[in-house]
């Protein structure tokens, strides 16, 4: 009796000691750092705090999606950087997914040439550091583009030059109504979908959901154009002479070369990883599944849509989420080519000006942590939705 009690006590103590030691060590390191930091900041005459975010930033940013100039605050500069990071990540994720799926499917093609080309695409772009690819596109490839006066023109609507890609600007009237109509269309599609599922489950009726959804998505916004006064005009970029030798384009939207290089490199690099995931996912669906589906009379498209894809997606989604996260984090390499993302604007310029290393680095890291965690929460939710529902 006594012995048993002693044993339990012993195990408890045995478990407690290493934990206590770890916690104590961690706390003492943190305290040591904190004391040093306080001393150092005292020496430099700065105090810890986030009040500087309201001060005037007085530096310019080359590319901004919201209104910004030097008279705005550091907080606003942070927001500009954050939006730029999100912009390049979203563009990168979009194109990486498309390219990745195409390459991944091509690798499984029964056409030997296509499969080989896709394989070599993956082997080449996966094994070259991303930063080198960014440098290559920015310093070598895009620098070979012509000057504005003889830019590559696409039907005189948009121009590709060494200074960036000039595209038409969308000018909306009553944009809110249009946005609302898209939301209405989405809600309508949702109802059509659930109605179709019900019909299929109860009566075995097949309703062409895709065609109906497509029509709804086309017609409801179209009505707003015809009846509710929504209109869309374009402002085209026009070549303008600044001085005898210097030309530029006016009007339209200029997509800066930094953004092009970064988005290109990010999506081509990440596409290789997504391609491997897609390939693994499709290979992961056993042949028996396809044969079983074919033997109950589904046609080739139905086999793909109803049997192969749902199972393959389950294998593809988790690692692809990781790739999306990696792409978002890799977008921080923007600092190397001076694309004004959060690292360059905030951890670079703002830090240099204010000297508040601890606050700024912590905010930057926390921002990335939040971005990472929110993407992974969303993807976990999606993954759960797609997971096998065992009855």
């Amino acid at each position: 009796m006594n012995l048993k009690k002693f044993n339990i006590e012993n195990k408890k103590i045995r478990d407690l000691i290493p934990q206590l030691i770890t916690v104590f060590a961690l706390l003492s390191i943190i305290t040591y750092f904190a004391i040093n930091a306080q001393g150092n900041m005292g020496n430099r005459g700065i105090s810890f705090g986030f009040g500087f975010l309201n001060q005037e930033a007085s530096f310019d940013i080359t590319f901004s999606m919201i209104e910004y100039d030097g008279s705005h605050s550091y907080g606003r500069a942070f927001l500009v950087g954050l939006l730029n990071t999100i912009l390049v990540s979203v563009i990168g994720i979009f194109f990486a997914t498309i390219a990745g799926v195409i390459v991944g499917v091509s690798r499984l093609s029964d056409n030997y040439l296509i499969a080989k080309v896709a394989e070599w695409y993956v082997e080449i772009f996966r094994n070259i550091p991303l930063i080198l690819q960014i440098f290559f596109w920015y310093f070598a490839a895009l620098r070979a583009l012509p000057l504005p006066e003889n830019g590559i023109s696409f039907n005189d609507i948009s121009f590709l030059t060494i200074k960036g890609w000039y595209v038409p600007k969308f000018i909306w009237t009553n944009f809110n109504v249009f946005l609302l109509s898209i939301i209405v269309a989405m809600i309508a599609i949702y109802f059509v979908k659930s109605y179709a599922t019900k019909q299929r489950d109860q009566f075995g009726k097949q309703i062409p959901v895709f065609t109906i959804s497509f029509l709804i998505f086309l017609f409801i916004p179209l009505i707003t154009f015809l009846l509710l006064g929504v209109s869309l005009t374009f402002e085209y970029p026009v070549l303008k002479q600044l001085s005898p030798t210097v030309y530029t384009y006016e009007g339209g939207v200029s997509i800066i070369p930094e953004l092009i290089a970064l988005a290109l490199a990010l999506s081509m690099y990440t596409a290789t990883f997504i391609a491997e995931n897609v390939r693994a996912g499709i290979l992961g669906v056993s042949k028996g599944q396809k044969e079983a589906a074919a033997s109950i009379g589904l046609n080739k498209n139905q086999v793909l849509k109803l049997v192969v894809m749902p199972q393959a997606l389950r294998i593809i989604i988790p690692p692809t989420t990781n790739q999306y996260l990696n792409l978002t984090k890799n977008s921080s390499l923007a600092a190397a080519i001076a694309y004004p993302d959060i690292v360059l604007v905030f951890a670079g310029t703002a830090l240099m000006q204010t000297g508040r290393a601890i606050e700024i680095i912590s905010i930057t890291m926390l921002t990335y942590l939040t971005l990472s965690i929110s993407i992974s929460i969303f993807m976990n939710w999606y993954n759960k939705k797609m997971a096998i529902k065992e009855k």
């Binding site: 750092f33 150092n40 094994n127 550091p129 080198l132």
Partner: protein, 417 residues
Amino acid sequence: MKFITKPSKQNIKTFLPTGLVLAFISIFDVFVNAFFNYNLFSFLPSQLSYFLPLILGFTGLYLIRIEFSGYRSLDILNKNINSSNFNALLTLLTVFIIVKSIPPLLNWFILDANFVGNTKEDCTGDGACWVFIKVWFNRFMYGLYPNAEQWRINSAFLILFAVVGVSFFVPTKIKKYFILFLIFVYPFFGIKLISGGSFGLEYVESAAWGGLSLTFIISAFAILFCFPIGVFLALGRRSSLPAIKYISIGFIELWRGVPLITVLFMSAVMFPMFLPDGTFIDKLIRVLIAITLFEAAYMAEVVRGGLQALPKGQYEAARSLGMGYWRMNLLIILPQALKLVIPGIANTLLALVKDTPLIFVVGLMELAGMIGLAKTNPKWLGMAMEGYVFAGLVFWIICYAMSRYSQNLEKQLSTER
């Protein structure tokens, strides 16, 4: 009417030669166009002559698509590149693109490239200026390390390769001493040899280190240290002790959630604030610590995957033999778990090598950084393409070799389960 019938074994005598000739003409046209800049069909309207190879090739491939033709090579050809109209089209487009892109690439890389000379002015051709690489090669390999002392880096790497090479051939019993030497003795010996400062060697500060050798030094050190730390973190994350478990989780997720570049920024500007006034830790060491901790978090997740994949019976069997926690993990669990995750480990190490160029943010220059320095040299402006193609090639060879090696290792170590 017979001509419109589907190609089959009956009409193989007429269809096969016609098809082959058409396909040949189509590819020959593109070939001549690409290599000799001559258009065979220039007498036709330009739009038509542009698409003619595609039309001819497509018809040709359609005509030779004969099932069970009796010719083995034709069947293999059809099965692999010509199984349907869509596939035939893809094949043609791929072949055209490849044929079209060979001459410009060949010209740029070799035929129009410049190999002799010592200055930019010697590059008179339209192609690449490999003179740039030749002149700067020393810098690309050794950074700003003094020329007279470069034998130290060479010998450090030679010794490493020699030891690794010999250890492949010695019997397993002695092999472990080699490995112990590599892990516990060699790193410090190597660093001392390269940095100098004693034994009559001139001191070379770490700011002068650079080029490809710095890539290797950083990769080697980070690999060496991140592996054990990663294993400990993985064990910690699966520990039954809550404090250790949550500290490990927090540590791993913190590093995995942020980009390496911010970690490097932190090591450069934030970390010195945490040290007592006046203490100075070398920049290279700070960077090494940052990269090691960062990669250790990724390594921990890989190792955790292996630990989770092991059946519970292995743990229970080890316990029932009376093994304690450490003996169980070291002798039973980790050897199996690590073997399972060799591809993951290799990928992490590859990522580490590919991440080394990022040290430019703290002002250290490995290969990519040195190229950035060289291409901004006033005497060598406009050499970015050559520089980055060269760097890309070097990194590609390293990374491709590593991934191939890991695939072989995986095959060698795989046991029937």
